[in-house]
């Protein structure tokens, strides 16, 4: 079911999405995004480079924000922008909880802006904005 543009209001909140961060998921997403940087799969080298452990790559954070907003918006939504800033790393063993709030609507082209935040045990891993274009009610 796709959400219609007319059904969305500024201030609407998206349901929380907890993402368990396992060693396997951090490696699997890095490889699925073709990112072979050692800090995303080799704990020894990650520590040598100043990190506590391996950590999630930014392509995956983009992918999870994409998934989060489109799960809420539905399959007819078209993603127009994803703008993120990373804070603390996503390390194995933690959980990141994604939350989102509709912050703006643009009637001229049915774009909806969503402020997204992903918190883990250390603090904010990601803060940013996603923009999706939703169909009008009569079109769904």
């Amino acid at each position: 079911m796709t959400r219609a543009y007319d059904e969305v209001a500024v201030g609407d909140t998206l349901p929380e999405l907890p993402i368990p961060l396992t060693r396997t998921s951090i490696v699997a997403t890095a490889i699925a995004s073709r990112d072979y940087q050692d800090v995303h799969h080799d704990p020894g080298l990650a520590v040598e480079r100043g990190s506590r452990d391996i950590f999630m790559n930014i392509l995956t954070t983009n992918g999870l924000v994409d998934r989060y907003v489109t799960e809420w918006a539905g399959p007819a939504a078209v993603v127009k922008a994803i703008k993120i800033r990373l804070g603390v790393p996503n390390y194995p063993g933690d959980t990141m909880v994604l939350t989102g709030t509709v912050t703006a609507k643009h009637d001229e082209d049915n774009r909806v802006e969503i402020a997204v935040r992903g918190m883990n045990g250390l603090g904010a891993h990601v803060t940013g904005t996603a923009v999706v274009r939703l169909p009008s009610k009569d079109a769904t």
């Binding site: 796709t2 073709r34 990112d35 392509l59 994409d66 399959p75 078209v78 993120i84 804070g87 904010a124």
Partner: protein, 336 residues
């Protein structure tokens, strides 16, 4: 605490060599290894846990008005990643005949000691959805290279680039502002049980409340300039920034740059409540500048026991993150 490269990365010559990369297309348009294809989409959506049917089910995609399967928007960068073999082979060789490119920029950053890299910002705008068979190219232009900043990970520089993704016909499909921190990892310390449990890197420092009256002051701080507001009518200096001179009432003002010297006018040591962005004990001081104005700041490189009122101090800079630099003060050397 000089590292092997200390000094070379502060010299004017090094700065100029870095600055020469700004505006340069360091990655010419380069097609990804594979066109957009279902197996790579499947790997991506499985790993991400993304169950949107439009990425694998043509029927479901058509039901939304699309012509068929589309790739997840966020996947655009993945189509142009260099892959395992090139990553394992290490940095591309520097080629003096070819003009400055990414390999040369990375070599220059390595020369400055900035050997580690972490991505900090990605700002995508998607112009159209990618479909199976699209062959994506990416080119990359350097927008800016920051001055050296002290971050939770180590001392480094933020490198901001603009990536433009195009299809086989040259049409732009997405643009991405991309920022990485190139840094010198902090020296490894012996693992300590307590330290191992400490969260790092730290939470971002709380944002100052910036408005039209004080924006100039924080903008100057980002450039590592400590400025003082001056009344343009009666020349009286004032801080904190405000719209109107308390002495003569004039709304006209300009600024002067502080010498960076001052003394401790007063101070407190903050123990509680703790905020994860700060290190404790946290010394919060009122420093009276040589110019006469006072500002609230932190003292660094000194223990609370060593601080005395009247102690001479000198300006230093705290680079909390790419958008926030703040003046801090340390003891003026040779002052005892």
């Amino acid at each position: 605490m000089s590292g092997p490269n200390h000094g070379s990365n502060h010299s004017g010559d090094y700065e100029e060599r870095l600055a020469a990369f700004v505006g340069v297309e360091v990655v010419p348009p380069k097609p990804g290894q594979d066109p957009v294809n279902v197996p790579m989409i499947r790997h991506w959506v499985e790993a991400m846990g993304d169950q949107n049917p439009i990425y694998l089910d043509a029927e479901a995609a058509r039901a939304t008005g699309r012509d068929g399967i589309v790739a997840p928007a966020s996947m655009v960068q993945a189509w142009t990643m260099r892959g395992y073999a090139a990553t394992a082979a290490g940095p591309a060789p520097v080629n003096p005949g070819r003009g400055p490119g990414m390999a040369e920029l990375i070599a220059l950053l390595d020369e400055g000691g900035y050997t580690s890299v972490v991505a900090t910002d990605s700002e995508f705008e998607f112009h159209r959805e990618l479909v199976v068979g699209d062959h994506v190219s990416a080119r990359e232009v350097v927008e800016s290279i920051s001055p050296e900043k002290t971050t939770a990970l180590g001392v480094g520089r933020f490198v901001t680039t603009m990536r433009t993704y195009t299809d086989a016909g040259g049409e732009v499909v997405a643009v991405q502002r991309w920022r990485t921190l190139r840094f010198r990892p902090k020296p490894k310390t012996e693992p300590q049980p307590e330290a191992a449990q400490e969260p790092e890197p730290k939470a971002p420092r709380p944002r100052p409340a910036i408005n039209r009256d004080n924006e100039f002051w924080f903008a100057a701080a980002r450039d590592h300039r400590l400025v003082i507001q001056r009344c343009a009518s009666c020349q009286v200096l004032r801080h904190p920034p405000g719209p109107c001179c308390a002495h003569c009432g004039s709304f006209d003002w300009d600024t002067v740059e502080a010498s960076g010297r001052g003394h401790v006018y007063s101070f407190v040591v903050n123990h509680h409540p703790r905020h994860p962005a700060f290190e404790y004990p946290l010394i919060v001081a009122v420093v009276e500048l040589a110019e006469g104005t006072r500002l609230i700041t932190n003292l660094v490189g000194v223990t609370p026991e060593e601080v005395e009122i009247g102690m001479p101090v000198v300006l230093d800079w705290l680079d909390a993150d790419p958008d926030l630099s703040l003046p801090v003060f340390r003891l003026r050397e040779g002052s005892n």
